[in-house]
Symmetry: C4
Subunit: 205 residues, 4 copies
């Protein structure tokens, strides 16, 4: 791998890490009046009421963590840091940076009447993320050298998974319009598929 | 150590560093009306009233700093970046990222009637952290090569300390339900034990 | 490249990355009352009303991303990490760190009566950024060794682009005083020029 | 330099960078009502009223940037990452992470009646920082090998500057109690001294 792609990778690592850490800002400290005799019970309730925030935090953290692994997997195939790769990766970074916002919205509205709007918005963000991964895959493959590690079969397999990911997130988005919890559940259910792609990258070396 | 584990380590370093730096967000600038003749005295009082925030900041910063050292100590034994290691580490990173929230809650409620709820929540987070470290230790040890540096005795010693850590945080959690300050004091008192583990790692090389 | 300049570069990468990620904080979660029968429609409207925030986010993220690439391009020519380079780079980092603030102001006021003030403030920030890049170029070129890669012609070409950038942002600032949208559009229109500079750097190696 | 000290240095770089970038959070977007006929003039006034925030931002950014350079200078002498170095550096990192808070307080109160409280608090933080640098210097020097680069004279010179820094910040703190602007000016006036130390480090190699 050339030095330039290593630099793009290191920079992307930073963005992934900061975006994951900023997710915690969705948890807001409950404010209770001092001197309330019932303060203990109220604080317990306020903490328990953070369950939607916890679900949103867990989902986004796990998903971005797995995206980070796949990013490294994909960059193992990258041999040239041309403008195509650079802008495809830049688009992905833009979306990774954006992820905290739909996560905060989901955290705020998951137990609210407008949960379907929040869940649809959340899934729509990941539709864009999966499109961005497909573009990044294309920009990597286009520069593949003939004798590069990893057979055509392998690339085809990854490409199928990436396309399946797009379809699944699109489906989740549609479902979330009516049944927000099922939409969110679909997002969770994609973890094993993305994690499996990693196994494959390793076997290939 | 192979390149993959180095990458996981660098990524974890970033998460540790950002989580520690975000702790400062618990300090909120006191807002006083302009033109108040008594403003100076009020600002001094407002700054002095931040002592619970300072205790919480110091405790979490110190603990995460020591956790970071132990993380490197543990990764010296890691020879393979398999999915087991990856997800065990991911769980730890999730909890490290979460630490600022219980810290902010502790900062807000340590001088409040609901201090025991806040302190119990804080200690409970570190119960999870210590479970996560035990899982990470297991995922590292499972891949140990026969001739790896560090005797079985050493590993056993670390494992004992990690289990002791779990017990101590669990105890702190129970105690904090009734005596929040003692629960917090137990968390502080664990610093030397975790710091001692570091000495041991170095001696082993 | 000597080890010192590599360190300055790595540090700058971190600042670029964090500044880009902090841009997301301009998106504030809309707060709607629980139990409102019309909550869904209101949340949709609240999300659609974030279009100025999206424009500002996209513009700043893209611009800082391209600035990051140009920063690496420029540092390929840096052979000595003297105080001149150090402070020229420090000034640029100060401005990069500052970028989120005019971006948040633009996000808040782009669909507001005071849009021209916000857009002028935004463009003025990039006038300073472009001055800072010109200073950094000077501080790099002043240390060039005779047989360094890249002809005098190349340096002259970069210098012309940097000066053109200054003129363009200055123009955008003046225009934004009366037509804020055109000022913002000029900022977007500079992307291809900065991206083109990258091509050149690669060809030169 | 051994691998361990390099790791401590990289981690510290991250903390320096994030602390510097978080300074921008002191700039809060002015909120003006939509539809106010006088909105433009008001936004201009609101932006101009940010001058104390700008002074505080500039002062802290510049100071931490110079601290970062001196940190690297100091670590060039570090040959052993023992617990002494580790905790001395941890204390410094704690204080670096804390710097944004007094900066935000200074930004809020510099044009306020309570400016002297804010400025005293700010200077007091840097008294602690300078104590911490003196401790770090000690923990580095204590491990110096006989034939290490840099003469005893050089070390003595740095030590004198570090002690002078402590005295200067202590003086600034006392002065700020009565004349906040002079206290802040003393903090600015220390930049050249810290920057000079860097020159010296380079000459020594």
């Amino acid at each position: 791998m050339d030095k330039e792609t290593a630099r793009v990778e290191a920079f992307s690592d930073g963005i992934f890490g900061i975006a994951m850490t900023l997710l915690i800002l969705e948890f807001r400290v409950p404010i209770l009046p001092h001197g309330d005799p019932d303060a203990r019970r109220q604080l317990i309730h306020a903490l328990l009421a953070l369950w939607p925030a916890s679900v949103a935090f867990l989902l986004s953290f796990g998903t971005v963590l797995i995206m980070w692994v796949n990013h490294h997997g994909l960059f193992k195939h990258a041999h040239k840091a041309d403008n195509r790769l650079f802008f495809a990766n830049g688009l992905l970074m833009l979306l990774v940076t954006f992820v905290p916002f739909p996560t905060w919205v989901l955290a705020e509205y998951l137990d609210h009447q407008a949960a379907n709007v929040a869940a649809t918005f959340y899934c729509a963000t990941f539709v864009l993320v999966s499109i961005s991964y497909n573009i990044l895959l294309w920009s990597v493959v286009v520069n593949r050298r003939p004798g590069a590690p990893g057979s055509e079969m392998t690339i085809a397999r990854v490409r199928r998974s990436y396309r399946l990911g797009f379809v699944a997130y699109f489906l989740a988005m549609l479902v979330a319009m009516f049944w927000p919890y099922i939409g969110v559940a679909i997002c969770f259910s994609l973890w094993p598929m993305w994690a499996m792609l990693r196994y494959y990258e390793r076997e290939m070396r």
